[in-house]
Amino acid sequence: MLEIKNLHAKIAENGTEILKGITLTVPKGEVHAIMGPNGSGKSTLAYVLAGRSDYEVTSGDILWNGESILELSPDERAAAGVFLAFQYPMEIPGVSTMTFLRTSVNATRKKRGQKEYSTPEFMKIARAAALHLGVKDDMLKRALNVGFSGGEKKRMEVLQMALLEPTLCVLDETDSGLDIDAIKIVSEGANKLRGPDKAMLVITHYQRLLNYITPDKVHVLAHGRIHKTGGKELALELEKTGYAEFTGKAA
């Protein structure tokens, strides 16, 4: 279970508060969607969950499986099962995608006390997963994300998610930039990761994704706070009304 308790976070560099008391619980086996206007703090929340040091948590807590993860480094959080699919995946010139994937998976497996894969073993696994997600073989040889199209980068995020076997998945606008076929594939992949011991937070602007990944709950985040929580019909409602209700003065 993911428990976010009255979480406040500011930008470390200039002290601007972005998250102003977020409280949110995602029980295991559930998928929750987060929607909200641009600049409301959705990605910030995702980054804070993953442990990005540009943000400083000033109060509140994040518990995963009953334990606070605030003191864990990003790589320790990954080992603990946290995975963030970035809204804007980074390009890493000079590091081949395959090398990166193997390093990432083996480092994580090592920390989880699992056996590391040999290079041939891993290549087989990675190729099979890539094929399934429509990631072309030559992309695995290229530098990570460098020159990948927007959709290719998102598929690469989902490939990483599949290979790292996380238990807490945070998808930050993974559907943006994906074509319809890819949305289906990605959703299928995400649905596969649904399980009794897993939890998922899906950040999206589009109700469409939620047709494929049916959320148990939908939260509206605005001005750094959760303003409304509802079932999947809330997404449909927002599609019609927009965020006018939330974008006025912060309540």
Binding site: D75, P93, V95
Partner: protein, 435 residues
């Protein structure tokens, strides 16, 4: 002739050393005269210092407080096993070897039946041959001319293609620091092709070795030379090297220069295009930490039209290390259609390190494409976060990013085996930093 008063202790030591050992230096009376003239030229200029524009960032006069005694005629007892150890990965490559220890050729450590006739400068001078002085006003070249003891003469006949690289090794040994002066020559006849790998090493216990070597390169028309300059002498060493190269028509010269953890290194190259439609690539890596100082200074002279030059140097600095990249490209009035590009990039791992870059374009022709650039960066925290969010620990993530930074330069090496070998050296150096 007026000789300026010798100012520093080091310069004094050089003069005294030369006076006492000149009679034992190889060569005829004609050579002895040239040595004296070269010494006089050196004494007029003295050790290069910061008021000499080309040495602005590398003040040898200030840096070289002590000059080691000149290693003339010293017999070495270097064993094959010790040499192998010092060479590391280079020990196992399939190549013909020429080994110079403390400034002298050691046949016992060299290849007995090389693919071509290899001569040494010592042999030439010993049998009455003469050594033409290099025409240059570089003080360190003059000093080399005065003190030179030996060197490799690699003369490859027109049309010949060497199947194996030639490995030229300069090793410094012994607990006593010493100063060496080698002068190598690589000459490729028309259409010849060769790879020459020059490795400078200091053996364990070789303290403060000082080398001041000169390499002359001349490639004939349609010739193709791949040259490597590998400096691994260690943090106590001083390494000064001057390359003077002339490229014929339709020829290719690639030189890759890797300097790793050398106390004080200055690699200067003066390259002149003498024939049209030729290509030059001088690229490399400078890796320094502690108080190390590495300087790469290039002067590329496009004297004729239709030639292409590329330079890419990548530098990684930590602690209070300093690196210098000076790149001058001259395009003479006739040299239309010149294509010259130069790039120097530094990655700073600490706030106290320093990178000085001075590009200089002197263009006298109008129909040319020339560009240069320099960047200084730190490790990108956003990239670090991305890698770490994928479970990669901090040290490993940092190493990956540094490796990817240096990879761009290493990619210039066509030969996969050599590229992997040099990558390994860079990786070893990188992994030592954040143990």
């Amino acid at each position: 002739m007026t000789v300026a008063i010798i100012k520093t202790k080091a310069e004094q030591a050089l003069a005294t050393d030369f006076a006492s050992r000149r009679s034992r230096l190889p060569g005829t009376a004609a050579n002895a005269k040239m040595r004296s003239e070269a010494m006089a030229a050196f004494e007029r200029a003295g050790l290069p210092h910061r008021r000499v524009e080309a040495w602005k960032y590398t003040d040898l006069r200030a840096a070289l407080k002590e000059i080691s005694p000149f290693a003339a005629g010293e017999v070495s007892d270097l064993s094959e096993a010790d040499l192998q150890l010092a060479l590391g990965a280079f020990a196992s490559i399939a190549a013909d070897r020429l080994v110079f220890v403390n400034g002298h050729y050691v046949p016992a450590l060299s290849t007995s039946a090389p693919q071509i006739n290899l001569f040494t400068l010592g042999e030439v001078l010993g049998s009455g041959g003469t050594l033409a002085p290099l025409s240059t006003d570089e003080a360190m070249v003059s000093l080399n001319g005065a003190l030179v003891t030996d060197g490799a003469i690699i003369d490859i006949a027109a049309g010949a293609t060497l199947t194996k690289p030639i490995l030229v090794i300069a090793a410094a040994t012994g607990a006593k620091p010493s100063l060496t002066a080698l002068r190598h020559m690589i000459k490729l006849g028309a259409g010849a092709a060769a790879t020459v790998i020059e490795v400078h090493v200091a053996l364990d216990g070789a303290l403060a070795s000082q080398s001041n070597s000169v390499l002359e390169i001349s490639t004939g028309d349609k010739a193709r030379l791949t040259h490597f300059l590998i400096g691994l002498e260690g943090p106590a060493a001083t390494h000064i090297q001057t390359i003077a190269a002339t490229i014929g028509a339709d020829a290719t010269l690639n030189s890759f220069q890797l300097t790793v953890g050398t106390g004080l290194a200055r690699n200067q190259a003066f390259v002149r295009f003498a024939g049209e439609r030729s290509k030059l690539d001088i690229s490399g890596l400078m890796l320094a930490r502690g108080r190390e100082h590495i300087d790469t200074t290039l002067v590329i002279d496009h004297a004729v039209p239709h030639c292409e030059s590329r330079e890419l140097f990548k530098t990684v600095l930590d602690d209070t290390a300093r690196a210098v990249f000076q790149g001058k490209v001259i395009v003479r009035p006739d040299a239309q259609k010149t294509d010259g590009k130069q790039m120097a990039k530094a990655l700073m791992l600490s706030e106290a390190c320093e990178f000085d870059s001075k590009p200089e374009l002197e263009i006298y022709a109008d129909d040319v494409v020339c560009g240069h650039g320099a960047t200084v960066a730190e490790i990108d925290p956003a990239m670090m976060f991305y890698l770490r969010s994928r479970g990669i620990p901090e040290d490993q993530a940092r190493a990956m990013l540094i490796e990817s930074f240096v990879g761009e330069a290493l990619d210039k090496i066509d030969d996969e085996g050599l590229r992997e070998l040099l990558s390994g050296i860079a990786r070893d150096w990188l992994s030592k930093g954040h143990a």
